[in-house]
């Protein structure tokens, strides 16, 4: 089983870590270089983790578990106005990133108000491209209850956050509800506030675990990191994409950040060692995010094999 971990250390000799991960059959999901520091998000076979730990100890780096690595989470606020940003939304998004997730912040066009809040088809479809969503609501019980219509049609697990204590059975469409983080006008700095952020992470982790369990019942034909590796190798143009993460991983596929019309055939023609083409084992469709390519790997029940 591959274990998600995060390496933080000096830029010097970090290539050794990358090489070792590749030799062990793991994957480097993301690499962030900040001046003389580097942060690597890695998937490493759990039985080989001690080897990696030994090398990282030698390099005086740090290796921590990143339970959300390889997933994409949407942080959704009713709008992008000053009422909802920056404090709560940025704190939650940043905290999710620190635990390895790829986080996208989204503001709805007309998500405000108690009676008038609404979400459109495009926004719903965009949120559904993620692995989980966190909806950030305010301080009033009645408003949180009424805003259920915003996430009723979302198929990915939705973690709802808000101020007051609300019984979970009052919000049947939410995966979980995390209280004590409503609308605030300051950054999270007190121990209780940080504790609430931790419980959001735990809740998102449980939501992703649920999706993972569902996937194991009908496993994917191949794993998303393997698709990512193959696309990176066989469509070299992806390295010239201006996005910080040219191939974003999901639990059920990848998003390739290249124009759909120009590169859909190249992505579809990516061939694995077994001789199978990506187009045969995955649906390749335009993403709702810009004009990117969305690759969704088909389950074994549709293709008839797993490799």
């Amino acid at each position: 089983m591959l274990e998600p971990v995060m390496f933080t250390g000096g830029l010097y000799k970090h290539d050794l870590v990358v090489e070792l991960v590749e030799d062990l059959g793991g994957y480097v999901l993301q690499k962030n270089v900040t001046q003389s520091e580097v942060i690597l998000l890695i998937l490493v076979p759990s039985e080989d983790k001690p080897v990696l730990e030994a090398l990282i100890k030698e390099l005086r780096g740090e290796l921590v578990r990143a339970p959300l690595a390889g997933t994409e989470v949407a942080v959704v606020t009713p709008t992008l106005a000053i009422h909802h940003l920056p404090h709560t939304a940025c704190d939650i998004a940043e905290y999710l990133r620190r635990h390895g997730s790829k986080t996208n912040m989204m503001g709805l066009a007309r998500g405000v108000g108690r009676e008038i809040a609404q979400i459109n088809e495009y926004e719903t479809a965009l949120i559904n491209e993620h692995d989980a969503a966190v909806f950030i609501f305010g301080n009033f019980r009645e408003c949180i209850r009424r805003k259920e219509s915003l996430y009723r049609n979302i198929t990915v697990p939705v973690v709802v956050t808000g101020g007051p204590e609300i019984d979970k059975c009052e919000l049947p469409y939410a995966f979980e509800y995390v209280p004590s983080i409503g609308r605030v006008a300051h950054r999270a700095r007190k121990a209780t506030e940080i504790g609430t952020l931790d419980s959001i992470i735990e809740s998102v982790g449980r939501a992703l675990d649920k999706t993972r369990t569902d996937i194991t019942k009908d496993p994917l034909t191949t794993s998303p990191p393997r698709v990512m590796d193959a696309v990176r190798e066989q469509v070299p143009e992806v390295e010239y994409s201006y996005s910080p993460l040219p191939i974003a991983l999901n639990l059920t596929g990848v998003r390739v950040k290249l124009p759909y019309d120009g590169y859909k055939d190249a992505v579809s023609a990516v061939t694995f060692d077994e001789g199978v083409k990506l187009g045969e084992i995955a649906t390749i469709k335009p993403s709702r995010m810009k004009d990117y390519i969305l690759v969704r790997i088909l389950p074994a029940s549709e293709t008839g094999y797993v490799f």
């Binding site: 009422h83 405000v112 008038i116 305010g138 301080n139 019980r141 009645e142 101020g163 609308r183």
Partner: protein
């Protein structure tokens, strides 16, 4: 302890948490904008079922207008006056006022913080900025930030001594405004 003499907040329904948090939120926003010292009493009424949000406040009045002598030292020199600027924040307002009063050809700025005026008329008493008007602008900004965001129909009645701000999702009917004012009056008398 609240810096205000009176700060009452009333929310209908079982919204104890919301009431407590809204109190903190209002304090945070007013502090961020530097308005808290100028407000004496504040009454906030929020009816979640209507829904309507209203704030009534009494101001600590008496912010004098900013004059030339407040932003710098005025010295009498040969053939005119020299102003040595101490507070650069209002520099552009100062120049605008001096240009308007004396004409551009009589106002010279040889250094960043020095203005020389070729006139016998003392500029000390000229008004550079109306701080009270600026305060009222900031207050309106603060109230818009405080109000829940979906409450897009707003009405703001401001005078030198007090302000009344009301916001709702639906159209603001005169009956709703009257009813809300009545509620605030009850809070004042309680």
């Amino acid at each position: 302890m609240d810096p205000m003499e009176v700060f009452k907040i009333e929310v209908t329904g079982e919204e104890d948490f919301g009431t407590k948090k809204y109190r903190e939120l209002i304090m945070d926003i007013l502090q961020d904008l530097g308005l808290i010292r100028s407000i004496g009493r504040l009454y906030v009424y929020l009816d979640i079922m209507e829904p309507v949000f209203a704030v009534f406040g009494l101001l600590r009045t008496g912010i004098p207008p900013l004059t030339v002598k407040d932003v710098g030292d005025v010295l009498k020199t040969e053939g005119g006056y020299q102003v040595k600027i101490n507070d650069e924040e209002h520099m552009s307002d100062l120049l605008k006022v001096l240009w308007g009063h004396y004409g551009r050809e009589r106002v010279e700025q040889p250094a960043r913080d020095v203005v020389i005026i070729a006139s016998d008329k003392d500029p000390s008493g000229l008004m550079v900025a109306d701080l009270e008007a600026e305060f009222l602008q900031d207050l309106t900004d603060g109230l818009v930030r405080i109000a829940p965001e979906g409450f897009r129909n707003r009405r703001n009645e401001m005078s030198k001594e007090s302000f009344f701000f009301i916001a709702a999702e639906e159209t603001l009917a005169p009956e709703l405004i009257a009813k809300t004012k009545e509620k605030i009056r009850e809070m004042q008398n309680a």
